[in-house]
Symmetry: C2
Subunit: 384 residues, 2 copies
């Protein structure tokens, strides 16, 4: 199997856009190709993530759609849908294509458009990632799913609403340093705690926003990467699945798919959590970040809330998490999120993150979660 | 790269079902695993195709959903959506996973449920595979797309409505021999020609039906396949894309993506069209079969209509096409179709097709088309 590396990254401004998701992807892809110093004609395959295109844009078959809009219609293209982990799933399979020797230059990315529909509609469409028969039918939406997880974590480990609020404050502080973030604005602990309950114990500022945006990365074979100064190597990329249904999960305070995907990715890379310098993880809700920091082995089970409170995950802390602002402040255009996380980690490992740079970062990790914790992808990256 | 082989196949009855698509897939998958003499616990990855789950079942994230219903929730799973070619796209990427040495046993399949919504709704949802901005907005649905192709082929090559009708008659004759087919009923040339116009020059009997159903195949590494008597080898599997928009296509009488995917698959296999004994191809409309037989190189450009008229594609003809009944008579549960075509070709190459057996078939080909001819997959199979 051949090694693969990322040599180009691009991301749109996250927020509200009056363009199709394919157009948003094309903007990010053009930036990624320019960054890679490659023309679009060099792309041999497109791996594309998109989730609710059918619902918000009446658009399925979004892979060839994106390729056509980008101007590379004859490049073989595949669309992946793994709920919020879609473009990370695309990335993992793209690594397989390069590793298997089928292509030397693969474009990977994703995009989503949701701010063209109402919040109620977007909430309903996102809930399609949970079980239609047993969960949607009783009104379970994603704030509800993560409220259940939060309550379980509070009960089992003593995690507090204040600790969750610390995640929001930290990610907004990071997001204020990221010109592509949806919210470039710091918030206070008091503001988070005073915000309205969305699904008890989660309040408005515990939740990531709805977001339009696109992200792309250029993945190449070792042979091409060796000739580039700024190549960032893929050290591991793994997926894990878990039961769709909340009532089939044995311990709501854990996300076993995170633990399994992380174990597999660490094994591929020959690394452990102690080696990781910078992390982009799936903080769709503040509790999701706390549970993920534990599942990735960054902190002991049950201590993720303490880590947030003590600032261990902040820029300057033990292991900076979500330097981009995370889904919470950077925004969460669901089909683009996995790729956007890779954009941030690659930028960090290149030492190009400016005011939010983690000094001396050599190893980075991205973690993306889909649906009711039923899909998780974890990838590890390193610089030479 | 390692070789891969199919050692188990399963397909539901095609037609109307009152079960979810995940349940339909699970039935097919259990049959495929029993056929492979493997327990579900042997599966290391699930590659899954589904198209309009969001629209007809309010269900996205259908990969883990299918795995959960099948009872293998912790198996890493990926959903592919490439319009009507979805489960063939899943199959090609699954071959990559086995070839790259990541897994030895991969379950591939797909399912679709559409007969729970009205024909008007299903027609609209299928049209989401064409461009939302430029095509859906002016009322272009799939019968219209293929009517344009038919008219171009008639103008350029003199193809007739009678020749197209021969495709329908032949596929119904084959479908009558397939107990899993939606229509197990022969029809006459006169009936086809007397049926109502859906989109001139295409009449009702030129069109495949809406269908519920599931299909699955078990793909394994060479090491495992060598120990099985009935293993059918994957000799090649290739994808090609093309412009989404009809107005960007230079010659509507051709499907360039079919030509490119076929060329790549033949190259991988070291074979040509003259070596192929049995073909399952994408006859969503009768004209689609005619154009595909040309694009696959089975007949000269422009002579696909003549081939249909002369019976060259019939059981007992030069190269039997769609012995299963094809999409036209077997039915077209879009997410399952690519896998179901593989089920038929594997059954033929094993010599287990009963009354529709192609005697001595050694090499088989499957061809699946997605959307406005923007995605095509071609795979080649062979027995020892």
């Amino acid at each position: 199997m051949r090694r693969a590396a990322v040599i180009g990254v691009g991301v749109t401004k996250f927020g509200k856009h009056d363009r199709t998701s394919a157009e948003l992807f094309a903007e990010a892809a053009r930036d990624a190709l320019a960054d890679a110093e490659l023309p679009p004609s060099a792309v041999q395959a497109l791996y594309y993530g998109n989730v609710v295109g059918g619902e918000t844009e009446k658009q399925l078959h979004t892979g060839p759609q994106a390729a056509s809009v980008l101007g590379i219609p004859t490049v073989p293209t595949t669309r992946f849908e793994a709920a919020c982990a879609s473009s990370h799933a695309a990335f993992r399979h793209a690594v397989m294509e390069v590793a298997a020797g089928l292509s030397d230059v693969v474009l990977v990315g994703g995009a989503e458009r949701v701010l063209n529909v109402s919040t109620a509609e977007a909430t309903e469409y996102f809930a399609y990632a949970s079980d239609a028969v047993w969960e949607q039918s009783v009104g379970l939406t994603f704030p509800g799913v993560f409220a259940l997880i939060a309550r379980a974590h509070m009960t089992k480990h003593g995690t507090t609403e204040e600790q969750m609020a610390h995640v929001a404050v930290k990610n907004h502080r990071h997001g204020a340093l990221n010109p592509k973030a949806q919210f470039q604005k710091e918030i206070t602990l008091e503001e988070v705690l005073a915000s309205a309950y969305v699904a008890d114990p989660l309040k408005l500022y515990d939740c990531c926003p709805f977001t339009d945006g696109g992200a792309a990365v250029v993945l190449v074979s070792e042979e091409i990467a060796r000739r580039r100064r700024r190549a960032i190597w893929v050290l591991g990329s793994a997926a894990a699945s878990d039961s769709m249904l909340m009532h089939d999960k044995r311990d709501l305070a854990r996300v076993p798919a995170t633990e399994r995907a992380a174990a597999a990715a660490y094994r591929q890379a020959g690394l452990g959590p102690e080696n990781v310098d910078v992390v982009e993880l799936h903080d769709c809700f503040t509790i999701a970040e706390i549970v993920a920091t534990e599942g990735l082995g960054l902190f002991e089970p049950g201590s993720g809330g303490i880590a947030a409170e003590k600032g261990w995950t902040s820029l300057g802390g033990k292991v900076p998490v979500n330097t981009s602002g995370g889904l919470k402040a950077k925004g969460h255009p669901i089909g683009a999120t996995g790729a956007a996380q890779i954009v941030e980690v690659v930028t960090q490992l290149r030492g190009e993150a400016g005011p939010r740079q983690v000094e001396g970062a050599r190893i980075g990790l991205t973690h993306t979660l889909g649906g009711n914790t039923a899909t998780v992808l974890v990838s590890l990256f390193g610089r030479d």
